[in-house]
Symmetry: C2
Subunit: 147 residues, 2 copies
């Protein structure tokens, strides 16, 4: 049995790193179905001036090439945007654990419609990190989601 | 008036580079609405051992941070997969020019349903590059689309 909160803690650690670097505090981690970490990362828009590195794409890149992702779990501190939801759907990642979907709701309902298991933890620290960041840097947040 | 074939030629050039490097021959380029090139790139799964760099994400990264992408055109040699279609939707890229959708059909109909203008050029060189590659390296191609 997977402990969603324990896996989420790794993604939260990545989000804290991103915040400490002055970046957008979203973290993610890819695990195998046994709960072994394959790769983790965080949003690097500010740090690398890179609009393409969302937390989920960073974790996916860090996990590296695999013949299949059908045995993996994507864990992210925030509901995945369309870009990251598309990643999950294309690579048939069957389970997404979401820290929170209150400050932003992306494509997790769409993924559920396409058979992806969605676990929303509704973690207070995730909500606090994002809501504080959005309030302090609305421009950066809007840029990150193309708004 | 945008000349879709002229813009596609830049993406085709990227796909040829990818092929010459022994990689998956898919190229993409992001232009502004006046047809000025903002950034281009190609799939780098083989070259960098990076599953996250599809042609469209490479072009998006190369174009860099912008306050908005609502004035841009994504040009790709192949119908965008869900991952890259999600990128287009999230960042409100309003127009996608597709070299071909015969060897693979991704999310371009979904994008059209969400208001994105889709232009399919049905370019013979794009079809030939992809079909030759898929025949020669079915394993790499299936890995690239999570099949």
């Amino acid at each position: 049995m997977i402990d969603a909160s324990a896996l989420l803690a790794v993604a939260v650690g990545e989000a804290r790193l991103g915040r400490a670097e002055g970046g957008i505090p979203i973290g993610a981690a890819l695990f195998d179905s046994a709960g072994t970490l394959l790769g983790s990362g965080h949003n690097r828009r500010v740090q690398d001036d890179d609009p393409s590195t969302h937390a989920e794409t960073a974790a996916f890149r860090a996990a590296g090439r695999r013949p299949t992702y059908r045995d993996t779990i994507m864990v992210t501190t925030l509901s995945p945007c369309w870009y990251c939801s598309g990643l999950v759907r294309q690579f048939r990642i069957p389970h997404v654990i979401v820290g929170e979907a209150r400050t932003f709701s992306g494509g997790h309902d769409w993924l559920a419609e396409h058979g992806v298991e969605i676990t929303i933890v509704d973690d207070e620290e995730c909500v606090r990190m994002m809501s504080e960041f959005v309030e302090a840097h609305p421009d950066l947040w809007n840029e990150d989601i193309g708004d």
